[in-house]
């Protein structure tokens, strides 16, 4: 067997981590005080932090725990479940949101670390009833199947077409190189992104 084992097999075999995108982040939101590995009292009980988070143009004042990721805060206290969590380790990009217009993995950023920066999620992309050109192009090109990876892919493609008026296919592939789509929608995603870039250019 030596020589054929993959990283994923290894992690599965040791039970150290779940890495598959298909695993919807079991145990993602650790209950308060439920710290791993006998470290329950690791913090000094500083409790909740009151923060203000600018999400989709609105200031949201919330109380969170320091260890909560941006993805957890979006999906939990802010009840915005459009952002998906696949691997919870920065390895699938399902959780992509913009922080100051730059795509980041929200599962690998602490919510307290966002600070003054502005967050945009999939919920904030459309203008009222009018879809973002990338969203419209995803529908027109059938660029999703199960849809789990879609919000993240849309965020990456939208960031690209808004910053680069004429992206080449290579630039699109680079921009979405971190996204895993287990349904294999990639060719349709490329086409949708190309099309959306044209629409935006008008």
């Amino acid at each position: 067997m030596t020589g054929t084992i993959t990283r994923r097999d290894f992690l599965k075999a040791t039970g150290a981590a779940m890495t598959g995108v298909a695993v919807p982040a079991a145990g993602l939101c650790a209950a308060p005080g439920e710290a791993g590995q006998g470290a329950g009292r690791a913090g000094n009980g500083s409790g909740l932090l009151a923060i203000s988070l600018n999400v989709n143009g609105a200031e949201r004042r919330i109380e969170i725990e320091a260890q909560m990721t941006l993805a957890e805060v979006l999906r939990g206290p802010l009840d915005m479940t459009g952002t998906k969590v696949g691997c919870d380790r920065g390895a699938c990009s399902a959780c992509t949101v913009w922080v100051d217009r730059v795509p980041v993995a929200s599962c690998m950023m602490l919510a307290v670390d966002v600070g003054e920066r502005k967050v945009v999620t999939i919920e904030g992309l459309a203008r009222g009833e009018e879809l973002h050109p990338v969203q419209a192009a995803f529908i027109a090109h059938d660029a999703m199947q199960c849809g789990f990876c879609t919000p993240g892919l849309v965020m990456s493609c939208a960031a690209l077409v808004e910053s680069k008026p004429n992206p080449s296919i290579e630039e699109i592939k680079d921009a979405i190189s971190g996204h895993l789509c287990r349904c294999g929608s990639y060719p349709h995603v490329f086409a949708a992104a190309m099309d959306a870039a044209k629409t935006l250019k008008g």
Binding site: T14, A39, T96, D113, S177
Partner: protein, 343 residues
């Protein structure tokens, strides 16, 4: 992740005063349960969060360096050197026009780790100081030598991604993709100490072999903060190139990588050479035999192949990673030719 206190440092001195220890120090325990008293530093936080999510690191306090403006800049020196603040992101380095023009191997290497989303957050300092990705090291169920335990599991275990050189006692490969390029380019680093003093060292000498210290990958001292990476002015005729091979085309850790810097004189004879292998050894690995093979010769395909053969001649592969040697050989030859032949 465990609960912790969150502190944002506005200045380097303030961060140093909070008494941070290195993550290596916080993690090494005899019991296998990570220590919970530590104050640790956070840059982009990618490696820190990764370790904490696995339960391998449970700090009491996290000091955020991210908002310290002086650490986030790229500055050109009057002498043509380049000072890259430790908090500059990999994406910023990859996109910087001066880096791309003068230090091409670095621009190439900084543009490849992980995904664009990660590179938009991960910093150069954190990339150099991240902990190894040996899968036993990253597994809570394996209390290996590097975490303070009694055994290395890799030599008799699954070692497909492990070291093929200089693996006395521990066969991890150094995780940083930017390190081989920076070492090849002759980078120095500036470290700030708790008492306000500074030390400058060659980046190459920061890294520790397992024989020097099996529990830490670098000589960062508790309380020290990496302030900047300084690249020397580029002499005329110097060019660089970075090559990597992963198991898949899209983003993944490399199984082999190399950074090459050559200085060619006007008839095209190689006068200086650096050949640094990554994913090869517990430290960025200088292939001295390949460097000697290049010097004094024209950069022909035949000479590049000879140097590449010399690069892997002294290798000592483990049970499952002999496949890496032909990969390294091909990459070294390719990188030498690309470096030599670029305009």
């Amino acid at each position: 992740m465990n609960r912790f206190e969150w502190t944002s440092a506005g200045a380097v001195a303030a961060a140093a005063r909070l008494g941070p220890v290195t993550v290596a120090e916080a993690m090494a325990t005899q019991s296998g349960a990570p220590g919970t008293a530590a104050t640790v530093l956070k840059a982009g936080g990618i490696d820190l969060l990764d370790l904490m999510k696995e339960g391998l690191l449970t700090p009491r306090r996290i000091v955020n360096l991210r908002g310290i403006p002086e650490l986030g800049r790229i500055l050109e020196g009057a002498d043509g050197s380049l000072r890259i603040g430790s908090l500059v992101t990999l994406a910023q380095i990859a996109e910087h026009p001066l880096v791309a023009r003068r230090y091409r191997a670095l621009a190439q290497a900084a543009g490849l780790p992980a995904s664009p989303q990660i590179r938009n957050v991960a910093t150069i300092g954190g990339n150099l100081l991240q902990r190894p990705h040996c899968w036993y090291f990253r597994s809570l169920h394996h209390h290996c030598l590097r975490k303070g335990g009694a055994t290395c599991f890799a030599f008799s275990g699954e070692n497909r991604y492990h070291a093929v050189f200089a693996h006395e006692g521990c066969a991890m490969v150094h995780p940083s993709t930017t390190a081989p390029a920076l070492v090849a380019l002759g980078a120095r680093i500036e470290l700030l100490r708790r008492d306000g003093s500074r030390r400058m060292v060659a980046l190459e000498s920061l890294f520790l072999t397992p024989e020097e210290d099996i529990r830490r990958e670098n000589d960062l001292k508790p309380g020290e903060i990496l302030a900047a990476i300084i690249l020397p002015p580029m002499k005329p005729g110097v060019r660089s190139w970075y090559e990597r091979q992963g198991e898949q085309d899209s983003f993944d850790w490399p199984v082999a990588e190399v950074a090459v810097v050559v200085k060619l004189d006007s008839p095209g004879i190689c006068r200086e050479a650096a050949v640094i292998l990554g994913a090869a050894a517990p430290v960025p690995y200088r292939a001295k035999a390949a460097e000697s093979a290049l010097i004094g010769k024209p950069s022909s395909a035949g000479n590049a192949r000879d140097a590449a053969r010399a690069a892997v001649a002294g290798a000592d592969p483990l049970s499952g990673n002999g496949y890496k040697l032909p990969v390294f050989e091909a990459l070294v030859a390719r990188a030498i030719l690309h470096a030599a032949n670029q305009g």
